[in-house]
């Protein structure tokens, strides 16, 4: 159990000893990895359906599911059975092939992304040289099938939801990629294993070196996994359920599954790129790396649950403006800074122990200054803050109305 990668390695060696051909080894190792990933993703999802419902219930002063099994732990199983048993309706006028295909296809990119994450030192299914690029490329293909779902349903709410999804993807993908870029700039490699190893070697998580990038990434990812305050594509109170309005039964379940797994993928990116992956300042010598990694992933995922239980939703134009006016300039600036810092480090050849803490402190301070400063700068363009309490009057009959434009000019 120390390292599941070693266990698989031992099994493969045994197979080779028995005399299996080399292609069989390749197939078996891939199969083992795929099944492990799939099992992990589904198991985590089942657990987090329960955890999310209980946690949000706790935030909302109610109990949450507590009937099925101890503490309601069997609730996700009951939910899954219900979803499986429900009728799947195909609306009249729908594009039947695409309508059927979309919920299946949407899960594929969500799971495929998982292949490049190093769960432990040797536990990575596909150790790609271009890991970061792969993440950005694959995760954004899911949106294509979301659009297919919205379009093929022949429902106006679905279409609106799909339109919103695509519009948001175009805005936030730019931010997300720029945020992802900060890690390869420092490490000098796009391989996720190298990024983790670099953070372990210098004992410096990138979250300290690149706090601004992490902020941008989390916001951009919250948009892409459709969680409040940015769940605009499904906006329950506005467009019913957005692109999956017409889906029922397990087809709906597939969309939920894809959304959850995409959430885990985002959490895994946060854990790998910014929180040091499976390393924990030497603790990985004692605790299996995958336990550390999973703890970080679940911790990052909790953040999304927390956001969902707390914040209302922004309007689509506000969200777009936020991406282009606020996040994008910050991310560009951050990328420039990261490049400059790496250049300074290379040129001066200063020891890492001296220069990395300096960078960390500088970037942390700069991130605070930039976020606040940029917000204030944009805030000055906004109307003045008005008193957040209504007037209290005693006499009836008077009129206190004042047009908002007038108040803004004053």
């Amino acid at each position: 159990m120390r390292d599941l990668g070693n266990a698989v390695g031992a099994f493969l060696e045994w197979l080779a000893d028995v005399g299996a051909p080399s292609w069989l080894l390749y197939v078996v190792s891939s199969l083992v990895g795929m099944l492990a990933l799939l099992g992990w993703a589904l198991g985590s999802q089942l657990f987090f359906i329960w955890a999310e419902r209980r946690l949000i219930a706790r935030m909302q002063v109610r109990l949450g599911p507590n009937r099925a099994g101890p503490f309601g732990l069997l609730q996700p199983i009951a939910d899954a059975l219900k979803v499986l048993a429900k009728e799947m309706v195909t609306p009249r006028g729908a594009d039947r092939l695409l309508f059927w295909l979309a919920p299946i296809a949407v899960v594929v990119p969500a799971i495929t992304v998982m292949a490049v994450f190093p769960f432990g030192e040797r536990m990575v299914l596909a150790d790609l040289d271009v890991g970061v690029l792969y993440l950005a490329a694959i995760s954004s293909t899911a949106i294509f099938f979301i659009f297919v779902a919205g379009w093929s349903s022949s429902n106006k709410y679905s279409l609106l939801g799909a339109m919103r999804s695509v519009a948001m993807l175009i805005s936030y993908e730019v931010v997300q990629v720029l945020a992802l870029l900060s890690a390869p700039i420092f490490v000098g490699s796009m391989r996720l294993g190298d990024i983790v190893a670099w953070q372990g070697q210098y004992k410096a998580w990138l979250v300290f070196l690149q706090p601004l990038a992490l902020l941008g990434f989390i916001i951009a990812s919250a948009v892409e996994v459709n969680r409040t305050p940015t769940d605009i594509a499904e906006a329950e109170s506005e467009i019913v359920a957005g692109y999956h309005t017409e889906y029922g039964g397990i087809r709906w379940g597939m969309f939920q599954l894809a959304e959850y797994i995409a959430g885990f993928a985002v959490a895994a990116v946060v854990a790998t790129l910014w929180l040091g992956g499976w390393t924990l300042w030497g603790l990985e010598e004692w605790v299996p790396g995958w336990i550390i990694f999973l703890a970080k992933v679940y911790g990052a995922f909790f953040l999304f649950i927390w956001l969902r239980g707390t914040l209302p939703r922004l309007r689509i134009d506000q969200l777009m403006a936020f991406a282009w006016k606020f996040l994008l300039p910050l991310m560009l600036l951050n990328t420039l800074l990261a490049g400059l810092e790496v250049l300074v480090w290379r040129e001066t050849g200063a020891p890492a122990a001296a220069i990395l803490p300096a960078f960390a402190l500088g970037n942390l301070a700069l991130a605070g200054v930039l976020v606040v400063g940029w917000a204030v700068l944009l805030g000055q363009l906004r109307p003045e803050r008005r008193p957040a309490r209504p007037l209290l009057v005693q006499e009836v009959g008077a009129i206190y109305y004042r047009p908002l434009e007038e108040a803004r000019e004053a």
Partner: protein, 364 residues
């Protein structure tokens, strides 16, 4: 711009607060036009009431505005008392005041909670609001055995006196509520997203509000200081002190703020009522088969949603000759198309939420 997109919001939609339907004509996400279609919940209350005795009509008034049954009862009883010239004992006046204010708190809890839900919060503020509403409903249950459709007021007073444990429990609630309201204010009022979403959205200027005969928190949100509790006092409102919260810009945010401030004022009225409620009878004896003299009367109150009026005409018989309801929800809804034109779908939803309609009352 090609063919405009026509979207039916409702009658089955999570945010229409019942079976209301908005036919939105969209250009992208912008609203070009909005047509309101209602009547899905029409139960013919006004006609039904002409077949029943004056007392038998009280339960109907629970079911028009089902989120504030007490005020419905009160408005109808006031109208009939006016018509028949019945005096109400002072204790009954005070009990009516207490019930009406408790109802206002419960109803505003629901209104604010669902409004923030329409803004996209994932039920969290609503659940907090429901916690307080539950406590008010518990008190109703204590007084009259029912929580939603109370049927508590009678012509000439109230059905029965308050049970002995009612006032102590009300005292406890009144002490707790200001803290809870502060909690909501901290959570919601300065919330950057709510401000961004609701400020400057769904503006109803004061002159338009008056022209549309809008009333209640919506009229006050538009900056008109108008409250029937002060303008035409009924029950015991002439003996209590309270302020009228008034907004200044007439947008969704102002209506939300006015409702929140009104809950505070309601607590203030309840505090005074606890000190001033006198002992005594709670009901003037009224014959069960009441036959008011021929004539007409209009009784109106400030319900949580606005001016709730009952216009009753008697021909001297055992049942009303005409029974007309002036429903605040319906009349507050009428300026909606004008308020949402040019906004986005998301804005239309929160504008509708800020009007605070109850479909039982809109369609009757």
């Amino acid at each position: 711009m090609g063919e405009p997109l026509v979207v039916n919001v409702g009658p089955q939609h999570p945010s229409t607060h019942g079976v209301f339907r908005m036919k939105l004509t969209l250009d992208g996400e912008r609203i070009v036009d909005c047509e309101m279609i209602m009547g899905y919940l029409h139960r013919s209350m006004e006609k039904l009431a002409e077949e029943r005795s004056w007392t038998q009509n009280i339960p109907f008034t629970d079911r028009t505005d089902y989120l504030s049954a007490m005020t419905g009862n009160l408005a109808y009883c006031l109208a009939v008392e006016k018509l028949a010239g019945i005096e109400v004992p002072p204790r009954a006046h005070w009990i009516r005041t207490i019930m009406a204010e408790l109802q206002r708190i419960a109803s505003h809890c629901m209104a604010i909670g669902t409004f923030v839900n329409d803004c996209g919060a994932w039920h969290t503020p609503l659940m907090y609001m429901l916690r307080e509403r539950e406590k008010v409903l518990d008190l109703f249950e204590l007084a009259c055995g029912a929580r939603l459709t109370t049927n508590y007021m009678r012509i000439g007073g109230v059905a029965r006196d308050l049970p002995p444990e009612f006032l102590p429990r009300l005292q406890a609630l009144v002490q707790e509520l200001p803290h809870r309201i502060s909690e909501y204010e901290e959570l919601l009022v300065e919330n950057e997203i709510i401000v961004a979403r609701a400020r400057g959205i769904g503006i109803l200027p004061a002159d338009k509000a008056i022209a549309y005969s809008v009333s209640g928190p919506m009229l006050r949100g538009s900056g008109v200081a108008w409250d029937i509790r002060k303008a035409d006092p009924y029950a015991a409102y002439d003996q209590v002190e309270f302020d009228i919260p008034v907004g200044t810009h007439g947008d969704c945010y102002d209506r939300f703020l006015v409702r929140l401030a009104e809950m505070r004022q309601s607590v203030r009225i309840l505090e005074q009522a606890l000190d001033m409620i006198p002992p005594g009878p709670v009901q003037t004896p009224v014959p069960l088969a009441l036959r008011p003299p021929p004539g007409e009367a209009y009784g109106r109150i400030e319900s949580p949603r606005g001016e709730l009026g009952f216009y009753v005409v008697s021909d001297g018989g055992p049942s009303p000759f005409r029974f007309h309801i002036r429903p605040p929800s319906l009349i507050n809804l009428t300026p909606l198309p004008e308020m949402v034109r040019g906004l986005t779908v998301a804005d239309a939803i929160i504008t509708l939420g800020s009007v605070d309609i109850v479909l039982g009352e809109v369609d009757r």
